[in-house]
């Protein structure tokens, strides 16, 4: 079996789907290869184990090794992470774009240009606030932050609300609803269930991709240009497996998060949706928000201190889970090992990161008390339950990041974009340094973790780079 296309796009998430749309609408012959399946929205319950089986890599159980290890998740389905995440949309901050341009010497990188692309994206995926009242777990963040005088806001989402103004009954305008159909309408082909094992490279050019199918057979795909859009773990891993040299996979950046569960007097749990408020008073170093909180996830948040916290588990209808996320100084690595199918991922938190996690969890606990929480259950081994301000002090004293459940859903910066040789894996438009027709166009390119939900940045970067490719005719191939 073999396939051929002018342009091969590996991955169909926020990077791949937007790249495909720009290139197909420009008349190029585009083939998108997706490892996961096409799963219709509404056929699985959001944030459930079933969804994890169907739409996440390795059932959602993936980890960056370290002290502590950091659990992360990756979407593995048509549409990638956009299908499974909370759909919260944050434009990259203007000053951050400026810093990226300066520090990584990104050529022709006009922050205004990116923000005008962001305008288009917001229309295309219907970024909006909720039509009616906010859900109770979201209201907790709002009222707690308001009581403390902390800056907070509702983060808009890529959602439509076809069933009235219930904030929890939105339909995610993910890639399978927006950019992928658009790309296909413009002639792009999408094949699913194929994993690209490696690219065959000859003299600085990739000539074909070797894909494997679930039945064990392989397929060769030839192309003129390839865009690797597998996300910040899979993209560098594929490049490494293919023997690509350069700054690939060495600077994984994430937003490490710690969690707590808070119990209130009244029922508030929303099992299948997340709060839309975020607290940005301490941004960019610290952000607070709400997590998915179905009963299974509430039980998980109590697990670290099960002997003393177990009593709360049946109260899950009155509980919700919240997180404190940090902008980390630490970095991680993605390393492919010969004969191993998946890469080894590591991450090292710095001393300052650990201090921020402690402070973040404490400030979040204070916010919960101000929002009226009866009791707060922080997710780390040896945690006390928190009922008042004195308990917050006890909690800070007992905290250490090594004892905590640290996780992340934002992975980026493994192939940073720019012209600083020792720090950048790809050039100012995402083409891998030293290779004529290999491009990366996903979260791997973001020079650092943006301190906000990164998908808006990913889409804006991808569209910018794809347009540049069209404008220059991919001439450098």
């Amino acid at each position: 079996m073999s396939l051929d296309a002018d342009i091969l796009i590996i991955g169909s998430g926020a990077g791949g789907a937007t790249t495909a749309t720009v290139l197909a609408e420009a008349g190029l012959d585009v083939l998108i290869v997706e490892e996961g399946a096409w799963v219709e929205q509404g056929s699985v319950v959001p944030f459930s184990l079933d969804q994890m089986d169907q739409q996440y890599r390795s059932g959602g159980v993936t980890v960056a090794l370290g002290m502590p290890s950091i659990a992360y998740t990756e979407g593995r389905c048509a549409g990638g992470g956009t299908e499974v995440n909370s759909g919260l949309y944050w434009r990259p901050p203007g000053e951050l774009l400026e810093r990226w341009r300066h520090d990584f010497r990104i050529a022709d990188f006009d922050p205004d240009d990116l923000l005008s692309i962001a305008d288009e994206v917001e229309t295309a995926i219907n970024v909006r606030t909720v039509p009616g009242p906010h859900s109770a777990p979201s209201e907790v963040l709002r009222s707690g932050a308001a009581a403390l005088g902390w800056q907070h806001s509702e983060v808009p989402r890529w959602m439509t609300y076809p069933h009235g103004d219930d904030a929890t009954k939105g339909e995610r305008q993910s890639m399978t609803r927006t950019y992928l159909p658009r790309a296909m309408k413009a002639g792009a082909r999408l094949v699913t269930g194929r994993r690209i094992d490696r690219l065959v490279i000859d003299g600085g050019r990739a000539t074909e991709a070797i894909a494997s199918l679930p039945d064990g057979s392989t397929e060769r795909i030839t192309f003129r240009h390839v865009f690797v859009c597998g996300g910040a773990i899979q993209s560098p891993a594929l490049l490494q497996r293919s023997g690509v040299k350069g700054h690939i996979g060495r600077t994984l950046a994430v937003h490490p998060t710690v969690k707590l569960a808070a119990r209130f007097a009244d029922e508030l749990n929303v099992p299948d949706d997340v709060p839309v408020h975020q607290v940005k008073e301490f941004a960019p170093h610290l952000s607070f928000g709400g997590s998915a909180s179905n009963p299974g996830l509430v039980a998980l948040s109590l697990l670290d201190q099960w002997p003393t916290f177990r009593r709360a588990v049946t109260d899950w209808p009155r509980m919700s889970v919240y997180y404190a996320a940090i902008t980390s100084q630490g970095r991680g690595r993605v390393m492919s090992v010969p004969r191993m199918k998946d890469p080894i991922v590591t991450y090292r938190l710095t001393h300052a990161d650990r201090e921020l996690l402690r402070s973040g969890l404490a400030r979040l606990a204070l916010l919960m008390l101000e929002a009226g929480a009866e009791e707060v259950f922080p997710s780390f081994r040896g945690a006390p339950s928190v009922k008042n301000r004195r308990d917050v002090a006890t909690m800070q004293h007992a905290f250490s990041a090594t004892k905590a459940t640290v996780m992340t859903v934002h992975l980026c910066s493994t192939v940073p974009m720019g012209e600083v040789a020792e720090r950048c894996g790809a050039d100012s438009f995402g083409r891998v340094h030293g290779y004529r027709n290999i491009h990366v166009n996903d979260a791997s390119l973001l020079p650092t973790a943006p301190g906000v939900n990164p998908q808006a940045s990913v889409m804006a970067f991808a569209i910018r780079n794809a347009r540049h490719f069209v404008a220059t005719g991919g001439s450098r191939a």
């Binding site: 403390l148 005088g149 902390w150 008073e281 301490f282 170093h285 300052a352 201090e355 921020l356 402690r358 402070s359 973040g360 404490a362 400030r363 606990a365 204070l366 101000e370 301000r389 004195r390 917050v392 002090a393 800070q396 004293h397």
Partner: protein, 348 residues
């Protein structure tokens, strides 16, 4: 501007012979309408020296007593009218034994709040600290008006429990407010502060790492402004306020500014040469922690350990709610305190 009360008939000051206490008394003596002052001094010697400081003036009572004893607070507030404010500045920051923290800072405050509640005074102002909140987690982090407790060692813990005692008294009906100064400086300072000037002059002030840690500071007269603003603002009840300069300074900036102030006061200054690695501060902090755990307090170790951290606070709520505006900034404040030291005949 927020609504304010007029000055009370009686103003009670604890720790009146202390550094802050003297600066406060100095101001109160100059304020029209402060008819009765009732000052608490720790010892007979303190009382004598305070009497000398106050000079010949009617309406100033000086009592001798230790706030860590319950009867002292009862005597201090015995028979005062409802038109009385209590300014509670007594505290110990560099003790000889760790247990003094709890005895003076925590128990002392509890005794004062209990006596104030019994006496039915108009307002109690409790002088707290940044220490109940520890240090900032990041060099660019700033403490907001309301922060979770994270006490820094023995002193921090004792001041946290003091705040808890005040809050409990408020819940029981006391009208009290808390002011939180970070590192303060200025006239009436104790000898250890002249060491600070001497170290800067000799280029020996220990700068940790890159010296980019930020420190909120406050000139003692600004602090007095803040205490009196908190005293006289009815709406401050039950709240806590940072009293500091408008912004935090980096350690480098502090050393540079103090150096400049010394030069402008006619003193020679050597360029700073004492740069210590971050590790030194962390080792000192660990040493301090270990010693305090066994009841020993070692001042140099404590100060060095804390130097590696940022302690920065945001005063915007203090400005909005009690009308506190810092009038003297760092350079001017340092010049004034250098001049004060020289006027006292102290050698810098």
């Amino acid at each position: 501007m927020p609504e304010t009360w007029s000055v009370p008939n009686t103003t009670v000051v604890t720790g009146a012979n202390g550094w802050l206490g003297r600066a406060l008394v100095h101001r109160l003596l100059a304020e029209p309408g402060r008819r009765q002052l009732r000052l608490l001094a720790h010892s007979t010697a303190d009382a004598h020296s305070l009497r000398e400081f106050v000079g010949p003036r009617n309406g100033v009572d000086i009592l001798i007593g230790d706030v860590s004893r319950a009867d002292t607070a009862q005597r201090l507030l015995y028979g005062v009218s409802k038109d009385t404010d209590v300014l509670h500045t007594a505290g110990v920051i560099h003790p000889t034994k760790v247990r003094q923290f709890a005895e003076v800072n925590t128990n002392g405050t509890r005794h004062i709040t209990e006596a104030a509640l019994d006496a039915g005074v108009r307002r109690l102002v409790h002088v707290s600290s940044n220490s109940p909140f520890g240090t900032n987690p990041h060099a660019s982090d700033t403490f907001r008006a309301d922060e979770p407790f994270n006490p820094y060692l023995g002193y921090g813990k004792s001041k946290m429990f003091a705040e808890v005692a005040v809050n409990e008294a408020v819940a029981a009906g006391l009208d009290a407010t808390i002011v939180r100064p970070p590192w303060f400086y200025g006239p009436f300072q104790p000898p250890r502060q002249t060491t600070f000037f001497r170290m800067v002059r000799a280029g020996k002030f220990p700068v940790i790492g890159k010296g980019d840690q930020r420190r909120s500071m406050v000139y003692v007269d600004n602090l007095v402004d803040g205490i009196l603003a908190a005293e006289l603002t009815p709406a401050a009840r039950g709240n806590g306020y940072w009293i500091a300069d408008a912004r935090a300074y980096t350690v480098n900036e502090i050393v540079e500014t103090v150096g400049r102030a010394l030069v402008d006061e006619g003193l020679s200054v050597k360029p700073p040469t004492t740069h210590l690695p971050t590790l030194a501060a962390r080792v000192a902090e660990t040493g301090d922690r270990v010693l305090q755990a066994v009841g020993v307090y070692q001042q140099q170790l404590h100060v060095l350990g804390e130097m590696g951290h940022t302690i920065a606070c945001d005063i915007s709520r203090s400005t909005a709610e009690i009308g506190y505006e810092p009038k003297v900034e760092l350079y001017e404040g340092m010049r004034r305190s250098i001049r004060w030291c020289l006027d006292q005949g102290l050698e810098l």
